[in-house]
């Protein structure tokens, strides 16, 4: 019955080794899908390459449906999985700042690491920038603190917030994602081709 390590089915000492192995697969998949290229990543905002959208939503839906199915079959107790906490304004404003950083630098932490691994110097600058940003946040923490700790709503899921049935929501999200994929292909045909 999963999750395995919190329930003691795999001993805790394996944690770091499993982390490295999972990371290797993560980095491999990111790089092989082309996410080590900032111009490919930025394409989603200009319509010349929607790989980010496709990978992101496919991964989210596959993992969502997969975890729900495993929960249904009894392999995983979905209540024991870590749910990212909701700090309302922190999520919105942090996400907004990250959005500007994304379209300016063309990288996010995971993809910039995979780009560092293949030798891109602009990715190295991006990682240094992220660390400087973390440093700035930590030094000015007293200013950010009300935003960081405020509006805590708990580790809630959409089922709690919106009151919708979990399975219907996933179904509608899947349909929405398929429509989005079709639309992105139509947009891409009409946008000027960029070679990168």
């Amino acid at each position: 019955m999963g999750p395995l390590i919190p329930n003691g089915l795999i001993s805790f000492e394996w944690n770091s080794i499993i982390a490295i192995i999972i990371g290797i697969f993560f980095g491999f998949i990111l790089e092989a899908s082309g996410f080590s290229s900032s111009r490919k990543l930025a394409g989603v905002f200009y319509g010349y390459d929607f790989a980010v959208l496709k990978v992101f939503f496919t991964a989210a839906l596959v993992s969502l449906i997969g975890l729900l199915y495993m929960d249904y079959l009894g392999y995983v107790d979905i209540g024991q999985l870590y749910v990212h906490p909701t700090y309302l304004w922190g999520a919105i404003i942090g996400g907004a700042i990250m959005g500007v950083g994304f379209v300016a630098g063309g990288f996010c932490p995971g993809t910039s690491l995979s780009a560092v691994a293949i030798g891109k110097i602009d990715a190295i600058f991006n990682v240094i920038g992220i660390m400087i940003g973390i440093f700035i946040f930590s030094e000015l923490y007293t200013l950010f603190e009300p935003l960081y700790n405020g509006n805590f709503q708990g580790n809630i899921t959409l089922v709690d917030s919106l009151g919708v049935n979990r399975y219907w929501f996933v179904f509608i999200l899947t349909v929405g994602a398929i429509i989005m994929f079709a639309l992105s292909d139509m947009i891409r045909k009409r946008v000027k081709k960029i070679f990168y």
Binding site: L4, R39, F56, C108, L113, G133
Partner: protein, 176 residues
Amino acid sequence: MNIDNEKNRHIYWNPYFGGFLLGILIIFTFYITGRGLGASGAMKSSVVTIVDDVSHEHAEQSAYYSKFLDDTKSPMNNWLVFETLGVLVGAFISGGLSGRISWRIQHSPKITRRRRLVFALGGGILFGIGAQIARGCTSGAALSGMAVLSTGGFITMLAIFGTGYVFAYFFRKNWI
């Protein structure tokens, strides 16, 4: 094995295939560890470690760094740091198999290399600040958060992509 590196350079996986594998990986990660993936967390640990090494008193007194300090072990001794090391290795292997490894600065032909580096650095700084406020980046908060239907995860994902689209016009010279 005859690998034609020049031709393979720009061939990437089909995005649906990559997304599918990534989803399976996330399922496995949750199944084994009970938590999702992450990327910015390791960078935070690095900053905490560096500040701690430079000036231990400053780190202890600060309200933020002190949260991550533990006298019994280094702040680098956590799951995300090991996972991040794995990311570097995995990306290196994939890039190596496809002939994509070389030192370069990737930039649009319409801008100079220095401009690309300036924006990469600036974008990184903004991302670092934002990732701390939102307690995660696209991998940790958005992707892994969505996999368990976390409200915060969805909000962060919408905020990132929404703001990106709004501000894309101002940065268009860098990309197209």
